[in-house]
Each structure stands twice: as C-alpha cells, then as structure tokens.
Amino acid sequence: MSTLTASDIDPLLSLSGVTKSFPGVRALSDVSLNLYPGKVTALVGENGAGKSTVVKVLTGIYQPDEGEIEIEGQQVRFPTPQSAESAGVTAIHQETVLFDELSVAENIFLGHAPKGKFGLIDKSVMTSRASEILSGIGANIEPSATLKDLGTANKHLVAIARALSIDARAVIMDEPTAALSQKEIEELYDLVEGLKAQGKAILFISHKFDEIFRIADFYTVYRDGQMVGEGAITDVSEPELVKMMVGRDVNQIYPERDHNIGTDILEVEGYEHPTEFADIGFNLRQGEILGFYGLVGAGRSEFMQALFGITRPSGGTVKIDGAPVTIRSPADAVECGIVYVPEDRGRQGTIGALPIFQNVTLPSLARTSRHGFINLANEFKLAREYTERLDLRAASLDTDVGNLSGGNQQKVVIAKWLATRPKVIILDEPTKGIDIGSKAAVHEFMAELAAQGLAIIMVSSEIPEIVGMSDRVIVMREGRIATELNRAEITPETLVSHAAGIREAAQ
C-alpha cells in the first residue's frame, strides 16, 4: 500500500465501503474513492476492475449493495440519475449516450431544459445557453444542428457540454480521449484545467499513462473490484502504478510454452474497409499465438469481424494453407476453419436462453446430426468432450448459458469453436470481465491449444496478457498496423508507445 494522500483538503465527494454484486460476479468489493475540489483524480485499473461500475454508482444508475456516498461530509443517496445530477455529480460516459434525432441544444438540456411561459421549454434561452457552454469549451457547433449530422469528436464535445450544463461540482470523465485526435486531446486538457480552476472535482478514467501523469493530481487504483492503492500522482512511478493495476509479476502467472511454431496457415494481404481499417497484412503460423494490441477503438475488432465475414471488406485477400478463400459470411469463415470468440460475449458470443450443450453444438450440428435430424446423444457427447477439456463448472449441460458466470460463459464460447476443429481461432479480449481463476484457465488452455498446433490470434488491451502470451504482436493504431514486434521486442513500453504513437518512447 502506498502512502496515503498527504492532502490537507477535505474531499468534496467520497465513497466508502461500496460493494456491488451481480449474478455470478462481485463487481465492487468494499471500495472507496475520494475526489477533491479543484483537483483531478485518476482512476486506473484493468478492464473489468470495476471502474465503469463505480461510475454507474456515482451517477445513480446502479444502487450499491452496501457502502456510503458523502458530499462535503453529508451522506447522500442517488436512487435515480436525476438525484445524482441535482447533487452536482455529472458524467461524460464512455459510450456517448446521446440522441441522434434531437438537436444539439436538446441533447445538452434533455431532462433539465430551461422552462418559459406555461412550463414550455424556452427554446431561445436553451439555444443561447447551449452556445454559451459550447463556446466555453471551444466547440464550434451550431446548437440547432441535429446530432446525427455531427462527427464523433463533435458528438463528444456535446456530451461534455451536457455534463457541464448542470451546475456540477464533480465531473466524471470516463475515457474521454478514446475517440479524439491528438489536437482534440490537447483541447480537452485545456478544458480540464479550466474546470480545475473553477474548483470542480474531477474523476478522470483513462488507460493512457502519459495522460494520467500529465493531468492528474491524485490516483486511485482498482483491481478485480477492490481498491488497491491511492495517493498523490507525484509519489508514484509508472511501473509502480502498472504493478498495482496488475497486482502480480507480469511473467510468472502465464503458462510456460515451448513456442513450437510450424508453417504458415493464414495469410492476409491488403485488407481494407472504407472507414474502419486499411492496409492490413500479416501471416499466422501453426502453433503460434499472435497478439493484436492497440488502444480501444484502434480497429482491431473491426478488422477481426471483417476477417470472420461479419462485415464486408472493400479489398484484400485471405489465404488458408496457401489457397485463396472468399469469406462473405461467418458461415463461410467457419467452413474455412476460421473461428472468432467475440469480445461482446452476451450479445455476440452466447445465446443465453439456450442450454450449454445447444450453444456448444450450434456450429457443429452438421456433424452431430444425420440427414439434418438432431441426434441428442451425439450432441451431449460432443458438448461433454469439449466443455470438460475446458473444465467448465455447471450444474448440468442442460443449464441455460445465461445462468453461468462470465468465465464459464467464455469457456462455452471457446468450446463451441473448438468443437468445429478450426485451424485458426481468433480470441477478442478473451479474459475481459472474467474472474482470476477462469482467466488462468483460459490462458493455460490457449497455451495447450497452441502446443497442439492451432494458430491463435489474440486481441487484447491488457498489456500483461499480451506480453505473457504472445509469440509475436501486431500493434494497431487508427485502423492501421503501427508495427509488428517479435517476442524479444515485446515490452509494455514498446507496446504503449506504438499504440499511442509516441515516438521518443519507442527507444
């Protein structure tokens, strides 16, 4: 535990002993968080550490199971989003939660629009106040424009303006720079400085360390739903912060591998899409784990989904075992031996209301059935074979997948694909949001699969995972390949610097 905040200031907003559970997961366990007036507190942690959950608790979307929220020493409760707003807590959310069909001014003031005569919304006041706020943050946006006509960066500014439209004392910024260009990020920093000068307490959530050290005054680190450290940013170094985040020595807990790499199995050349990615080319060999690293929104998942036939690329070729193949749909991809374990497990990976065995056999039905007729005995046999290999924990194979924990759901998805006997398996954030135990099991299993000669692509935003598992890493930035690193070159520093496009750090 690092030294406690040497601050003389009392926190404006403080959270203590907060616990929040969901079926199968304990998202927050006895965490605390302090925000100080006129200061920026950075909240750091890996994906699934509980950062988003704490934001939802602070903004009245989730109710904590236990724990207290205090503002200036007064205990408060946020049963609804409005109650959080009226207490002066506002958030700029990770996903832009805005309304395409409404105007910019209406988006900014939805739920708290200025009222005029007869209780009607006073459009002129609303418009003028909107343009005040927008020009205050240096945004050149017409308040009467319809939101859907705006670009991503401008939408983000509208979201910021919305947060500032209520007289907030505490502002939460959840990965505010993820979708912004370097120039826009600089403007955001100025904005944060301005808010600090006004005495607002700011919670800044980010994955980018350069950002954190540049803008934050204090830090708080969460890991697996627990608070593991807090203090002044000047008292901590980057490696210390990383260590707190990861909580273990990066290399030790990853499985030993003998790196027995065979011949080329997948060759991709010149893959491109009008807006999502361009010029993607690489090869993948048997028994190899190829990591894809990049910041959130670098286009990794988008490329993988094109490779898997979900979206149509505008150009490029794929070869399997040297033979060119055309992939127009996931069904085509599966036939070619390419399978994809998606990041969004609940929406794209599992069919929650169907039992485990049906999820597992869904792409393999042609093999378990005869002339298109279901054979349950074969299905159970196949499902059992693969779920047991993955050490799945479930009451029975007839249990609905939706009732399983995140880690076990992920095992079902992986089992589903292994049952098709693929040549290439793409794992998109394979351990996101799953508990430590399952994480280790998934990693062990990946190593085992590679040893058996399967070619693995692993998309991950977790540096330790990339470092611990990959034979080779492709770093993507803004829809393109930034660099390719071989095993000796894979270090957290090189990954971060290439992903963020920082030149001097690339040694």
Binding site: P330, L362, P363, A395, L397
Partner: protein, 327 residues
C-alpha cells in the same frame, strides 16, 4: 485427455419433467376444462358430427399458425397471411374462368402463396426492413390486388372435384382438412423440434447476432420461413376457397390477428426465441372449442373474440402478476 475428476450431468430434469411443468400442460388443462364445461353446457356438444364440423373453426388458421409460429420464434412476423389467402384464392378463381383443372388450381394456389412469401422474405432479409411494417404494407398490397381484380364481384364455378379439399371426408367423420391439419402439425413439429433447421430458428430468435456469429446463415433461414408461411397461406387458401365455393376479395379478413393470437396463446413468445408446435396445436383446439361451445350457446362470434382477447392478455399477464405479487 478427458480424465476429468468431475462429471457434469447431461440433464437434471428429464424432458418429461420439463414438459409436465410447461405452458403446454397448463394449456392442456384449460382445453380439457373447456371441453368438460361445454359438454355440460350444451347437449349438442358431444355429437361427433358437430365436433367434426367444429374443426373447421381452426384447421385452416392453424395450418398457417404452425408456419407463423416458426417465424415468430425466429423474431419476425407476417401480418400479410390473410391477404395472401385472398390473392391466392383470387388467382385460383381467375384460373377457373380460363378452365384450369383442379390440379392446376392447387398448383396456382401454392405458387401464389410461395411468391408472396418470397416477396416478403426478400423485403425483410434482402433489404433489411422490419417485418412488421413490411407485412402491413404487403397485407394491403396483396389484398388490394384482389380488390382491383374482383371489386365487389365474386368468383364461383369451381370444379366439383375441387370441393373435396374443404368439404370432403377421408373416413367416417374425419374431414380431409383435419387430416391435412394433423399431417402439417406433425411435419412442423418435426422441423422445429427435431432438425438442425429448427435449432437454428430457436438460436436466431434468442439472439440473432450470436447466431450469425456462430456461423448460422440467418438471412437464408428467415427467407425460408417467409416462404413456408406464404406456402401455408396458399394451402389454407385452397382449403378455404374449396369450402366456401367462392372467392371474394374480403375472404379471410382479420385472420392474421387470429392466427397471431393462436400462436401467442400456444406459448410462443412474441419477442421470439421460445415456443413449441404442440403448444400451438393445443391453442388451436382451445380456440376452436371456445368458438364452438359458445356458438352452441348462441353466443355471437364477436363475444367469443372478447374471450379470446382476454385469454391472450391474461395468459401472459397472470404469471407476471403472480411473480410480482410473490416478490
């Protein structure tokens, strides 16, 4: 490799246990209850000829309901089914005027049904449009074409052997339609519950995105379901036209809603993903028995629709109210 210390059982409940606790068994009790009440309420109820006649109340609608059940389980809907009946019947009527034989008429009825289904399927899966609006549109379009062709006229003069489909008996009191209904029920039960295609239908209805990501050809499956619904509408058109012996453009008006009611009453979730053919079969009997029983008591059809409507809402509302009350 599979020397795991721990075995996960295949199942905790046998399929039979699941069935006993299911919607279908609840509905079966309702059906039996109605049957008993009816037999006490009217002395004419337990007459085989009356019962045989009563099956016409639901057989044609149920044929479409089976295909509709698959469509709704997959997350789509087709409100144009009754309009397809009108168009197919009109096409057959027009063909009669040209002297087409009974075989030809059947073929025309089926082909028109298929074509309409293909049109719906193309608009929904090819162009990615929401099926509820598309089929409200095609419902007007298909029946509208009948109105253009027929106006306030009617086609009659169907060949005498054509009457068999809607009026013929196969054996004793067993009508051809009832046999057809039973065969179609079995076929759809097999398709939905025993084939890979049926499994894909459930997967799509529960989570179309995950189904797509699992290598299911979602668009193709949905297109086939629209084709099947169109085809069954064509079959129903043949039976109904044969039974009535004439075609007016207003034939089968409002059936789409009765058919959807039958499907939902049968335990198919309107949101997709769950439901069974046995459920729809029982629902068909329930609706037929209610209609027939009330008819014997000289209760007019419109009041029966209250019962059906109330049944539709309460069978869904009561379990939810019950679970709300308990918590």
């Amino acid at each position: 490799m599979t020397t795991t210390s721990r075995m996960i059982p295949d199942r905790l409940q046998t399929p039979l246990e699941r069935k006993l606790k299911s919607w279908e068994s609840l509905l079966m009790l309702v059906a039996i209850g109605i049957f008993i009440i009816n037999s006490f309420a009217s002395p004419y109820f337990l007459n085989v000829w009356n019962l045989s006649d009563a099956t016409f109340n639901f057989t044609e609608k149920a044929m479409i309901a089976f295909a509709m059940a698959l469509l709704i389980i997959s997350g789509e809907i087709d409100l144009s089914v009754a309009a397809i009946i009108a168009l197919a019947s009109t096409a057959m009527g027009a063909a009669v005027q040209l002297g087409v034989s009974t075989e030809g008429l059947v073929l025309i009825g089926l082909l028109v049904g298929l074509a309409c289904g293909a049109f719906n399927g193309f608009l929904v899966t090819g162009l990615g449009l929401p099926s509820i609006v598309v089929t409200i549109g095609t419902m007007s379009l298909f029946r509208g074409i009948s109105f253009i062709i027929l106006g306030d006229q009617a086609y009659r003069g169907y060949p005498s052997d054509f009457a068999f489909f809607g009026q013929g008996y196969v054996w004793w009191v067993i009508t051809f339609e009832f046999v057809l209904f039973a065969i179609i029920a079995v076929i759809y039960a097999i398709i939905l519950h025993m084939t890979n295609f049926g499994r894909a239908v459930y997967a799509i209805g529960n989570n179309a995105t995950a189904a797509l990501f699992s290598g299911i050809r979602v668009g193709r499956v949905k297109f086939i379901l629209f084709l099947l619904t169109g085809l069954m509408s064509g079959v129903a058109a043949i039976c109904l036209t044969s039974r009535l012996g004439s075609t007016r453009p207003s034939i089968a008006v409002g059936w789409e809603l009765e058919i959807v009611t039958m499907v939902v009453l049968g335990g198919v979730s309107i949101l997709g993903g769950s439901g069974s053919i046995p459920g729809v079969v029982i629902a068909a009997f329930v609706m037929g028995l209610v209609t027939f029983g009330l008819g014997l008591l000289n209760v007019p059809g419109i009041v029966m629709s209250i019962v059906i409507g109330a049944l539709l809402i309460s069978v869904i509302a009561l379990p939810r109210l019950w679970s709300m009350w308990r918590t």
